[in-house]
């Protein structure tokens, strides 16, 4: 064999060996799919312990929120094998269960002694069960989340601002107890000069493309008395979705948008809200709880400058908040279901859940959130507990995407574009949703 042939043979063998070894490694790796956001980074950190314990490598596929649903629902619908584990949005549970995308976990939970009663009830219903309120589990609650508020504690504590507010409203400037008070505060701060800078009242959800404006509107509507359907007759929506109380709630949201948001905030969701608050533009900021650790740590608006509060009460004293968050599921098309179930078993343990919380993940395990030290563990921990106690969620039906797109259009048309009245928007929504359920054969 001449020298060139020997070299070529050596190179080929090396390449073959490298490829084979990398395939062996890849065969043991699990891919976890989730949204690209701060908690995902915490999960990467947390999962290193799983790899240490089991030798199973973890790969991650994170997609920005704006494409998260499109990307992963496409993946599931096409029966793709990209994800072995998926942390899917709470509203996907119906479709993913009925279309066979997720592995049903009941037998696994029984075998491994994982009890759903160990998790916060609202998260079990919201993230794991389908049909709702039945003991059929498709996910393990992974990340508790809820819409709440942050505010500029330093501005609220400023004596000059306090004085001006008292002169105008006859009460002290404090965390609002009702939505009416919240609007007063937002109006008060709108276009106010603070430290030589014009600031605005509130950042709220107005995004049109995915789910933003619906999450914001529903977050307010629940406390005004909105109901999705007749509690005694499922899918009967007329008189509930478009009740007088719901109309008042929607009118309130529009009034809040018109009076008190920063200029150009017509397509604002989680990211835009964070930017508005971090840049010192707004006094109040509606957002999911996942944003709180980052805001608390922020150098310019964090620390003592930021405060947190749960959704205030509506006109009749009702108090609810929009549920966010997700459960972790095993994808039915994965070839590595055993390893994926190992991960879920590991993730459900109390020690891992405690570490998850310490890294910035919002644990749903009662042992963590009901620990006596939990409320004081972070400045936002008590607000998280208060908020999780009052959650409601959007439809989780298999047709949730159509239901969501209908509400996105109706709410954005009314709130942002000012087309029609609140009553017309909600009547239209009843019509759209009825059409969807009729198509599904549920009405």
């Amino acid at each position: 064999m001449n020298r060139i042939t020997k070299t070529a043979f050596g190179l080929a063998s090396g390449l073959l060996a490298t490829t084979a070894l990398s395939n062996v490694a890849a065969a043991e790796d699990l891919t976890l799919c989730w949204a690209a956001w701060d908690p995902a980074n915490a999960l990467v950190e947390l999962s290193k312990d799983f790899t240490k314990e089991t030798g199973i490598g973890m790969k991650f596929e994170f997609v920005p929120w704006t494409n998260y649903a499109d990307r992963f629902l496409n993946e599931l619908n096409s029966k793709g094998k990209l994800c072995d584990l998926i942390i899917g949005d709470s509203q996907w549970i119906g479709g993913s269960a009925e279309n066979g995308h997720y592995v049903k976990l009941n037998d696994f939970f029984d075998k491994e002694g994982i009890k759903m009663s160990d998790f916060v009830d609202a998260t079990v219903v919201g993230y794991s069960q389908w049909p709702k309120n039945t003991p059929n589990y498709w996910s393990l609650p992974a990340f508790g989340d809820v819409v709440g508020w942050t505010y500029r504690k330093d501005w609220f504590a400023n004596p000059d601002i306090q004085k001006a507010f008292k002169e105008k409203y006859g009460r002290g400037l404090a965390v609002p107890a009702t939505f009416a008070e919240l609007k007063d505060i937002a109006e008060f701060f709108q276009k106010r000069e603070i430290d030589g800078k014009t600031v605005y009242g509130a950042s709220i959800y107005t995004e049109r493309g995915s789910e933003g404006v619906t999450m914001g509107v529903m977050d307010v509507l629940y406390s005004f008395g909105f109901k999705y359907e007749n509690p005694d007759k499922p899918y009967e929506m007329d008189g509930f979705v478009n009740s007088d109380k719901s109309v008042a709630g929607l009118e309130f949201y529009k009034a809040l948008y018109d009076c008190c948001t920063p200029p150009g905030a017509s397509n604002s969701y989680m990211g835009e809200g964070i930017d508005a608050f971090k840049s010192g533009q707004v006094a109040l900021h509606m957002n999911f709880a996942f944003t709180w650790p980052g805001l608390q740590k922020d150098e310019s608006v964090g620390g003592d400058k930021v405060g947190f509060f749960a959704n205030p009460k509506g006109p009749d004293g009702e108090q609810f908040a929009q549920l966010g968050g997700q459960g972790i599921s095993v994808v039915a098309y994965s070839d590595k279901q055993d390893a994926a179930l190992k991960y879920i078993k590991w993730f459900a343990t109390a020690d891992v859940q405690k570490k998850w919380w310490s890294l910035g993940g919002f644990s749903c395990l009662k042992a963590v959130v009901e620990d006596p030290g939990f409320a004081a563990s972070q400045p936002y921990a008590q607000t998280f507990l208060d908020s999780m106690a009052i959650v409601k969620d959007f439809w989780a039906e298999p047709s949730y995407a159509s239901l969501l797109q209908a509400s996105q259009k109706r709410f954005h048309d009314y709130v942002v574009a000012g087309q029609g009245t609140a009553k017309e928007a909600l009547d239209g929504l009843v019509k759209d949703w009825t059409e969807v359920f009729e198509d599904d054969g549920k009405m």
Binding site: D70, L73, N77, K79, G95, E98, N99, G100, T198, R208, G209, P262, P263, G264, A265, S266, N267, P398, A401, S402, Q405, K409, H412, D413, Y414, V416, A417, G418, Q419, D439
Partner: protein, 322 residues
Amino acid sequence: MTDANATILERAAETAARATPAPVAKRVRALSDRAVAWLFIAPTMVLLLAINIFPLIWAIQLSFTNYRANRPNEPVRNVGLQNYERILTDSDTWLAMQATAHFVFWTIVLQTLIGFSLAYLIDRKFRGHAFWTTVILVPMMLSPAVVGNFWRFLYEPQIGLFTYIVSFFSGIPPSDIAMLSSVKLAPWAIIIVDTWMWTPYVMLICLAGLRSIPDYIYEAAEVDRASPWRQFWSITLPMALPFIMLAVLFRGIENFKMFDMVNLLTGGGPGSTTEVASITLKREAFEKWRTGFSSAFAIILFVAVFGLANIYVKVLNKVKSR
């Protein structure tokens, strides 16, 4: 071709023929010219059938069903013309068509006027005209994704350069100039960006038209003492008209299916103010997952564009033959 070159080519052909394995050469020689022609066309035909014709036929078939791509396990039911009926009687569809018509009409008007004017000026061949032609062409060389994103920043009410300039000249506070959030301004915001980006394209086609007019026609007009104004109306415009109409056709078809720029700038908002037909179609197909319904919508749009374009081409041919 020189003799030397011909000899080189002949030799190369001879070498290639010798290199072809005998059985293959024999088989190829046995084929008729027509068969060889088909052999060459076949890959293109197969590709065309696979990526154009087959999906079209499939979409037509799906448009008569209730198929949803996100429910693979559900039985697919034939719904006849129900999808078409729903689309054509849905007020939201007509609002989307109105938004599309508004966008198409104004972009074509502005791009044709400005594009032709620029072409007319560039055609004067002043000093540095080649440089200015290149400068004017830059916007159309950019990616629509880049253009959309960067105009979004230019339109920002608090930090946008466009807003600042408008505020500087009009005295209106920048925070009150919400180009993308205002129901009245948002459709125009998109028209401005599309016009900025695609006017050079219209200019280029018009310039080709102007340069194709022979000089002797103008010389004859000068001899007849026709004024520059008369020359423009009687020579320049009629002779450049087929080119202008071609530019209008290209821009019309392109803007009828406009998606990227609108999606990046407003996403169809505020509300549904700028929700052009392609945005509605995308929402139906990939957000609501109504595959059958969206296929019907796509077919309606296709027929509309195809029909209008055909009528227009006939008119164009008449103008050319005059």
